[in-house]
């Protein structure tokens, strides 16, 4: 057995876990570790802020299905990871974060750059560790990766005191883990699956509600097979976009606060909801008391704690979505469901997503539609949070899993730019497009340097309305148009990108959209497109907070009409 330093054990363990790339930022307490990385066959992407490292690892994980890895030093380096870990935690993303720590002899003495990162990250990690003896290091790393990727995935943090990195131990990477308190259930109970099949086969108006769990368990194919076999329409949550091809007639796109009207109507009139890998979040259910009033609910999820958490479930099935669907599909009968599908078709016809096209100003929805037209299946959309995210979710057609990367649960502004780096690193042959807003972009714009120095060909499209659009929208609709702290005075993004050595262009005319997008997409390298859009363009439909999901606000045409009348008078 070889005797290695802790730092070397770290590198050897990562190699055993087949880690190809890590995102990080060095500092005093991780110098020994970086010294080992210097010669290691692991690619290190140097970010410009540790939050960027966490989001990049997260984007890498979401887009590849592998575990993302990030490294930060102790103290402020570690605390800078927290938002990234919380983002990954809320969306069940497998990430392992390593942080430096003060030497064990100084822990608890408020020594330089010492912080209790294990304590701080307790609520935002699936599990976390502090390694106090180098003999435990390999075992701990093995467990960290195992816990991050199995069951309901999530982030795991490993805190590494610097003396542990410097001291030596025999190295042997364990073959297996022994965790008696961690036994995820993968196989659904067959009796429950039979009950579910019976409910589905006797349902007149079923709807499948698919979420991130379908993507996490690589069950898109099974989901599609089941929907087609049983002629069951499919709605997805934000996290589920891409789990079911949106160009299929059975797709009702996204439901919830900014979902399609037909998705929300279908859920509201369904007699059966088959929730797969979802958690019935409040942005989806609206007012709980009136959510799906006629529906029985089947809930398939790997996390038993999600069952009955928000809605009462009639038939719970705890298990991995793929395994459960594999057993469920043979029991599903092919049923026409003509009446129900006709009704849905009619809703789709009567209540499509719509916006007012304008020759004179670029409508963000129009730009996303054009982008959808001009890109192929080999594209990954990575968004920020707010209006940009909702327009992308609504107007882009997602046909493949892992093609839409977004911070759903935590809603982290500043997620998209660094996440898109991780996506691009994990998928060098794909077109990675970061759809951004002028607010979100500025939350992690330091990562332009990472993108530039690594020549990551990320396409950044800023939907620039000079405002924190989603908050402004709420202020317009629910706070008497009192725009408190939402108007942004922005720098010149085109010049900013140029300063980082990134090609950039700006458009403000509808006519220029197609040409500019083509230029962006055809450019071999990173590029930033600053798109000036109207400040008062809102995201519709919208379910006001606390309302039932079939009580949607529609595109506000009246205001415009009033304005036009004013012009005439």
């Amino acid at each position: 057995m070889p005797i290695h330093s802790g730092a070397r054990i770290f590198v050897e363990s990562l190699l055993r876990e087949k880690v190809e790339v890590v995102f990080g930022y060095p500092g005093g307490k991780v110098i020994p570790l970086y010294d080992e990385l210097y010669d290691a066959p692991i690619k290190h992407i140097l970010v410009r802020h540790e939050q960027g490292a966490a989001h990049a690892a997260d984007g890498y994980a979401r887009s590849t299905g592998k575990v993302g890895v990030c490294i930060a030093t102790s103290g402020p380096g570690a605390t800078n990871l927290v938002t990234g870990l919380a983002t990954a935690y809320m969306d069940s993303v497998p990430v392992v974060a390593f942080t430096g720590q003060a030497p064990t002899s100084l822990i608890g003495t408020d020594s330089f750059q010492e912080i209790d990162i294990r304590g701080i990250t307790l609520p935002v990690t699936k599990h976390n560790y502090m390694v106090t003896n180098v003999k435990d290091l390999a075992k701990t790393i093995k467990e960290a990766f195992y816990i991050a990727r199995t069951g309901r995935p999530g982030p795991v943090l490993v805190d590494l005191p610097v003396d542990v990195l410097k001291s030596h131990a025999d190295f042997m990477y364990p073959q297996s883990v022994h965790l008696p308190g961690y036994q995820p259930t993968y196989e659904g109970n067959y009796m429950q699956i039979k009950l579910a099949a019976e409910a589905i086969n006797t349902s007149q108006r079923p709807v499948i509600f698919a979420g991130g769990g379908v993507i996490n368990s690589n069950a898109s194919e099974e989901l599609t097979n089941m929907a087609i076999k049983g002629r069951i329409p499919v709605v997805t949550s934000l996290m589920g976009l891409g789990a079911f091809p949106e160009d299929h007639e059975l797709s009702l796109k996204m439901l919830g606060m900014h979902g399609t009207m037909y998705a929300n109507y279908a859920i509201s009139e369904a007699d059966l909801i088959i929730g797969i890998g979802v958690r019935f979040d409040d942005r989806v259910t609206g007012k709980l008391e009136t959510f799906a009033p006629y529906a029985k609910i089947i809930h398939i999820d790997i996390d038993p704690a999600e069952v009955n958490k928000n809605v009462k479930v009639d038939i719970p099935i705890v298990g991995n979505a793929k395994n459960v669907l594999d057993k469920l599909i043979p029991l599903i009968k092919a049923i026409e469901r003509k009446e129900w599908l006709e009704k849905i078709k009619e809703w789709k016809r009567r209540f499509p997503l719509n916006y007012e096209y304008d020759d004179n100003s670029i409508k963000p929805q129009y730009l996303i539609e054009k982008l959808d037209e001009l890109t192929d299946e080999n594209t990954v959309i990575v968004t920020e949070v707010g209006q940009n995210q909702m327009w992308a979710a609504q107007y882009f057609h997602f046909s493949k899993p892992r093609s839409f990367i977004t911070s759903g649960g935590l809603g982290t502004m500043g997620y998209g730019l660094p996440a898109s780096m991780g996506v691009q690193v994990g998928n060098p042959d794909k077109t990675v497009i970061n759809i951004s807003g002028d607010g979100s972009f500025q939350m992690n714009l330091q990562e332009l340097a990472t993108i530039s120095s690594n020549r990551l060909p990320v396409k950044i499209i800023i939907l620039n309305n000079g405002t924190l659009g989603m908050v402004r929208q709420w202020q317009e609709l629910f706070f008497d148009e009192r725009y408190s702290a939402t108007i942004l005075e922005n720098p010149n993004f085109v010049k900013l990108a140029q300063a980082y050595g990134i090609k950039s262009l700006r458009i403000d005319q509808t006519n220029d959209v197609e040409m500019a997008l083509k230029e962006v997409l055809n450019y071999d390298g990173p590029v930033l497109l600053d798109v000036i859009i109207p400040q008062d363009e809102n995201v519709f439909p919208m379910v006001p907070e606390g309302a039932s999901i079939n009580e949607m606000l529609e595109l506000k045409k009246k205001k415009r009409e009033k304005e036009k009348q004013g012009e005439v008078a």
Partner: protein, 166 residues
Amino acid sequence: MRHILSVTVNNQPAVLARISGLFSRRNFNILSLNVGETELPEYSRMTIVVEGNTDTLEQVKKQLYKLIDVIKITELNQSNMIERDMAIIKVNCGKNQRSQVIQVVDVFRGKVVDFSLDTITVEITGDENKINAFIEIMKDFGIKEVVRTGIVAIDREMNNNVLTNS
């Protein structure tokens, strides 16, 4: 409603913080929590008294199970368990009242563990109600200080045997 959970956990640093943190961030209400070593050195056992309806209890149990360090959770049935709480109570008590206090202590099967010129310190063990009743009575004399362990509980073996035999 009050529920008593016996929770076997890894005997490791930060486990108590994981559990208490879970209760506070999920807005679960702990009435008492007690932790100590078990028959196996690698595990600790906690007795947690939780307030809430059955839905809350279901969530508490499921969320606890999600913690990697939680090995086993047993919900103790109120009628088939042995439950003890212990209190040490310092009561104001001059010479004249001593015999009166000691009489009450005897009735409650408590134990006098310390005297001073104007206080008397009593140890008392039993279920929660008994201790509450004793404290009520001691209030008449004037309580100086109370310390309580919170509930520790275990299920009755007899009960388990009956269940396995039937």
